[in-house]
Symmetry: C2
Subunit: 382 residues, 2 copies
């Protein structure tokens, strides 16, 4: 399959590109490398050293004998997007190329506006180019479980059957996103749903949970193939951040009570899920929604789990309940459906102590790269 | 009350500004006058001659003895927005200042992107300026009934109680917008809902139906106070467009079967509704949603109604069923709640033959201003 991985320099995109390449697909990465610039802006870096895209791709070719094409550019630049579609003629377009941090979107007005314009316009450009050049191409769009918020009823996969005043319909599941970033994904979802209906685009919206883990079969082959992993308060996410905090002797930073329950998955399952979506494309005109996660945990549960594994390793990790910088419920009902990818054959990697131990060991190995100044949350929702 | 009418040069904004001024409120208009540029772009003009903003305001001062302040600028320019809030310190901000035509948003990629960026960024800027400078100010935002689409269940006002798997919650009503324009309003609604929750902003989202009519007590006082009214296939809307078509001997252009049912209201009721919202503000942190319309009609019903009134006036108007340029259901269930504004005291002006006759007469008077080349729909959804 000819498949584009947009955002292929990022945490999910890079291992996805290698995974599809390894499987024998013809892969192209589209990226403007802006994720590296955000590190500079925030005074942080990946825990793991990451090679330049040029080095990444040449090492991959040497290791695997397979080449990955690279298009350097910004999805906000429509001429660039159209060129990519014309030149590569993809059968599937995996769209990770968005600003994906909720705290980054909440830094200030400029970051909120940047996040929404970057994400919404980039996605619109992809839809228009797809309509014009490869109308049969399958858009595999990364959404987020955070689009749903924390309703007091079960979360379904994209749609819900509603009975009301003696009639019924299946309607898009109501959205209550958590941040300007999560809002941008809701905007994207609505735009894509419309493009499917109006133009017959085929699309799968993957409402992904929080991704943890680091290593995949491909990225661990050579240090120059290593994936990035974030420890800072802006891009670092629960679990990965806790493991790094434990390794460097920092408190595990739980925001408020920690009863916030979210959906999680192993990065290896991200690759599996995207592959399952690609191999089983949506129908023409179908806006298909999968909830892409394997387990749900409260933030405090995860901190305690990391604390316990650290203890077995001889590390005393303290859990600190910071004043919550976010506006969110700290105790709430949470139950989200996630059967559609299982039905397609997903074999989950459930969270294991071994994975946590491995992350702590990796973090210990690279602890000199961790700046403690950027670990605590800096952006506030208020 | 100190009240800003953003978009105060437009079809709804101008009469709203005069109405509040007449009632003794301190009014400021914010507008970049871009609506006049879109006329030039599309090769059309208002049926009625419209004076410059300078003339409009000086005639109003001479007629009423009341002055309206005018801020010339674009809501996408945050420094301008912040200046307006600091200088005027509004208690209410009525936000009409968006690109409001569905066909305009569907012309091509550039117009789709323009519409979403213009509307979403302008609205974000208003929210951020309000938070910073006048956190108690009441945002009265014009949404559209088109956010809901045409679900097979009753449409409620913003929220719906859902029972599901033995639990229940009141959630935002699911949205299925019709065009990139309608999508921009859905994006705005989600952004405002979040700002209310995170920052305690008070907001009322007025999901308005299609507005018909032209005259208000204030705009008819002097030709230089006249409101604009559109006949072209891009900005002209059902009913008003049909009346003008009847007057100039053009077919009444019904798209497809004409069974598309929509919500409608008289422009005088727009003013009443905005006034009721302003005098009864939302609570701090409340995202209040009103469905702002008085009656629902199918497009064909309206064409037939205009045809009948025209016949009484001695005009034979033919109804032409054009190939539908839009992707929409032409026969569907439609029943939308609209009690909240009635509960606040709205006294509807229901559609009358007299109003239709008056519009046809006005159109006859200005028929030389109607270019027949721009009446048919030019933008397609496909």
């Amino acid at each position: 399959m000819k498949i584009i991985i947009a955002g292929g320099d990022g945490f999910c995109g890079w291992p996805t590109a290698l995974y599809f390449s390894q499987k024998g697909h013809e892969v192209a990465i589209v990226d403007n490398l802006i994720r590296r610039e955000w590190d500079k802006e925030l005074g942080t870096q990946s825990l793991t050293p990451i090679a330049s895209m040029e080095d990444r791709l040449s090492v991959w070719q040497a290791q695997s004998g397979k080449s990955i094409k690279f298009y350097l550019g910004d999805l906000q630049d429509y001429d660039f997007v159209e060129h990519v579609f014309q030149d590569f003629e993809p059968e599937a377009f995996v769209h990770y190329a968005e600003q994906r941090s909720a705290p980054y979107s909440m830094i200030d007005r400029e970051h909120a506006v940047f996040t929404q314009v970057n994400n919404v316009v980039g996605n619109l450009n992809v839809l228009f180019a797809m309509k014009k050049i490869t109308p049969d191409c399958h858009l595999i769009k990364l959404g987020t479980m955070g689009e749903y918020g924390t309703p007091n009823i079960d979360i379904e996969e994209g749609y819900i059957r509603i009975e009301h005043n003696g009639r019924e319909d299946v309607l898009p599941y109501p959205k209550q996103p958590f941040s300007f970033y999560h809002l941008s994904k809701v905007h994207d979802s609505h735009n894509i749903m419309f493009a499917c209906k109006a133009w017959g685009i085929r699309a799968t919206d993957l409402n992904q949970g929080v991704v943890y883990g680091l290593w995949t079969d491909e990225t661990k082959l050579d240090e120059r193939l290593y994936n990035r992993i974030d420890f800072d308060g802006v891009f670092g996410t629960a679990l990965n951040r806790f493991c790094i905090q434990a390794a460097v002797g920092h408190d595990l930073t739980v925001y408020g009570k920690g009863g916030q329950t979210r959906a999680f998955l192993d990065i290896r399952d991200t690759l599996q899920c995207v592959e399952l979506a690609a191999l089983n494309p949506a129908d023409a005109g179908e806006f298909r929604v999968f909830n892409q996660f394997t387990e749900q945990f409260s933030v405090l549960e995860l901190a305690q789990r990391v604390q316990a594994v650290a203890k077995q390793m001889g590390i005393e990790a303290n859990i600190a309940h910071l004043q919550n910088p976010r506006v969110e419920k700290e105790e709430h009902y949470y139950h989200a459906a996630h059967t559609k990818l299982l039905d397609l054959g997903l074999k989950p990697h459930l969270l294991s102590d071994e994975l946590i131990q491995g992350l702590i060991e990796t973090a210990s190995r690279y602890q000199d790269r961790v700046s403690r100044d950027v670990i605590r949350p800096s952006a506030t929702w208020r």
